[in-house]
Symmetry: C2
Subunit: 458 residues, 2 copies
């Protein structure tokens, strides 16, 4: 069985390793457009901040590690065309030479690329995006050579927020301009507002509700102009306006794409064409809670989808169980995490969300060093179903792995009430007899009881 | 509805608060033998270490907090006899006055008391147990007045281990003598051995396989004699040999007790006598994984059982969903946590356990500050069922809340394979794209695949 994989990032590598693990007799060839297979692009902000000194350490695995698993790597090879009827892919190598690779099963993991908002001057010198290793080197080089002092970041998603932290860490003054009314779409505005506060506490300017019109060169700097007369001059502009799927190669081969331009896949990660699978940031992602596709490009999801695609390419029968959009971001001293539906997403989906919102110490207050956690729990009032959870607090207050309890509960479609039955760990220096994730459930239940006195939910 | 509750610790208070929350019209009276209702006895080691300066802060709630919830507290009242046919309880107050309290529903939360191993001299001056606030004051007083320098701790369970930490923190030299072959029964010996190492790294002597024969007064000190000639002289001996249920009051009223001397209860926390419930360290605990009773005295469990008993006492229909024995202990810089079955418990239950054992950084190694986690996953080889998980690592490496992912997975009877489908949170400073709890599952699956090449588990 010859498995050909296009793309050497999370989905492609996971697929390759799982195919080899499940069927050690299969042959796996991985076509990688650049020369950085299996790099942690989630680590780029920490390289740019200076916290990670050597970019080479960002590799999840070395080339040798991957090859030791029996995976053939074709680095610097661009896939140009897929011929489904011939079961071949035309690739071009670094020297411009074209060749055809045949496959029994093909897995497409072409990933995503930064969204380019309609702003005049997006390609001017001093204006950057961040997605590939090469983007990162270009920005790193600009930081080193030009020693910019003033940065404008366009976009208040997790990359924008992490890069604000990173550039302040490097000594720049940072202005973050966000189109929407609050930061981080994965959490409610009440949490997003605290992220903005944390950025401001560390010297950033954060402005929301900004519609940027243009970038203009002004000497060595860039002038950023927004609607309503807002102007900012920067030595560096970073546009972090989200990503979009890279799906042209698939589309041109007749593979169906969905509304976000992402490749349509079954839960077995099959495309509409026989023997062609796809996974990662280039595909529609099955949302477990909504039971329908969404576009949720996350590294964790890409790993899981790649694993499913790799296993099924060699004859497996695994289904991707779905994403809950679980994520966590570190911003200076805080971690902010969310999973499932936000309040507004829950409303949009037709639920009647009731939100509990509490601030409690992350462990028993009598033990020294307790940090305050801000927890929000979104539940459906009529059914008592858990819909989502959000936590903000000190990044060493077990925020990230507490959100995992919500995520695991959501995975099992638990009720809010059910959270109270979980046998979670406790000792005074790390938690309370009811963990904070249960305290917020308790608060939710009390509110629900007050709103529905005749109802049996307790 | 008059609800009478005997016992003012975790189970009793939880029951009282839940009864009032579910039925605000019920009357709740709580009989508390001492004058310390709702104290965190799990916090006693941190009070004795000096880390908690004021013992009053150990109260989960003040007396006023509890009374504000409409709960009547009878402090310093001992329940002497239950008359089920009369639905009355005879109590004696602090002045020795006897009175009868009637009830519609009774909840027994009499807790546990330290086990007294058959050692000669257990009541000598300088020999202590630790369970109640008064025990703690006696020990604290001894530490202050006598300024002991050499302590012997008998017992290597979590209280013994925490107290070794606490007494070293106070400047004593500590010898920990453990009857069994390794420390902490809730984890496998491979993890227990690392706990012993951590204690030794901080100056403790740890000796396992010790059968203690006697304590003898030797001047101002205590001579500890064990089989095989081992002798230790100490200024302070702490016996921490586990606890046993306090169930005599119940037994004398005709309430059935089980093999550990613990009160038999249904999953609704009903005893065999109508309108009498029981909860907490005095009862048999339904083990969720084994689907049968066990004796697992833990504060977290007592809270949950109390909540169920309180709700059902006022007409609810809740079932206690069971314990997994989830626990975490902090020992100097480490946290050690376990849930579900250990390897030997799994064997004893007739499973065919396969254990995966890995050491991985708690977050991406390229980001500064990663600590090594030691994870063990116990799964049943023929069925692929998850049986238990254990984690040891730096106490700020999210050990405790990672064990909660295992606990939540066990609660839902997941397979090891299923762990790979969980959508857990990731950013390089807190985790990896596959969280360590998934990495150990991955390792388990690889081993299982190698042992069962023809099997479809992947």
């Amino acid at each position: 069985m010859d498995v050909l994989i296009i793309g050497g990032s999370d989905a492609g590598i996971s697929a390759a390793l799982q195919a080899r693990a499940v069927d050690p007799k299969c042959s796996v060839t991985l076509v990688v457009a650049d020369t950085y297979p299996n790099f942690s692009i989630c680590g780029l902000p920490f390289y740019l901040s200076g916290e990670v000194a050597d970019w080479r350490t960002l590799a999840h695995r070395t080339r040798a590690d991957i090859e030791a698993q029996g995976v053939e790597l074709l680095l610097g090879h661009r896939a140009e065309q897929i011929y489904p009827s011939l079961k071949r892919v035309r690739v071009i190598d670094g020297a411009g030479q074209s060749k055809h690779l045949s496959y029994d099963r093909l897995i497409i993991g072409t990933g995503a690329e930064p969204r380019r908002p309609s702003i005049v001057g997006l390609d001017l010198p001093g204006v950057f995006v961040l997605h590939t290793m090469d983007d990162s080197f270009a920005l790193h080089d600009h930081l080193d050579r030009k020693q910019p002092r003033r940065a404008v970041i366009v976009g208040g998603g997790y990359i924008g927020v992490e890069m604000a932290d990173a550039l302040i860490h490097r000594g720049l003054s940072v202005t973050l301009l966000q189109h929407g009314p609050s930061l981080l779409r994965a959490v409610d505005p009440a949490i997003g507002a605290e992220v903005a506060l944390e950025l401001r506490r560390h010297g950033a300017r954060v402005i929301t509700g900004v519609n940027i019109r243009s970038f203009e060169t002004q000497g060595q700097s860039v002038l950023v102009r927004a609607e309503g007369g807002l102007q900012e001059t920067a030595d560096l502009v970073l546009v972090a306006a989200g990503v979009q799927p890279v799906s042209a190669l698939a589309r041109e081969a007749g593979i169906a794409v969905g509304e976000w331009g992402a490749i349509r896949v079954t839960r077995a990660m099959e495309t509409n064409i026989a023997d062609i699978f796809a996974a990662g940031d280039c595909v529609e992602t099955y949302h477990q809670l909504l039971s329908r596709p969404a576009y949720l490009p996350l590294g964790t999801t890409a790993h899981k989808q790649g694993r499913v695609a790799g296993e099924n390419a060699v004859g497996g029968k695994r289904l991707f169980e779905g994403s809950l959009g679980t994520q966590v971001v570190k911003v200076f001293d805080l971690a902010v995490a969310g999973t499932g539906l936000t309040e507004s997403a829950a409303l949009h989906e037709g639920y009647s969300p009731l939100v509990a919102d509490i601030r409690v110490p992350h462990h028993k207050a009598y033990y020294p060093g307790a940090h305050e956690l801000h927890l929000r729990l979104i539940g459906d009032l009529p059914t008592g179903k858990l819909l989502g959870g959000q936590i903000l607090g000190h990044w060493q207050a077990e925020v990230a792995k507490r959100i995992d309890t919500f995520a695991t509960a959501l995975f099992h479609r638990m009720s809010v009430d059910g959270l109270m039955d979980l046998d979670l760990s406790y000792t005074p220096p790390v938690s309370s007899p009811w963990d904070p994730v249960q305290m917020v459930a308790q608060t939710w239940l009390r509110s629900a009881r007050a709103l529905r006195p005749s109802n049996s939910i307790s």
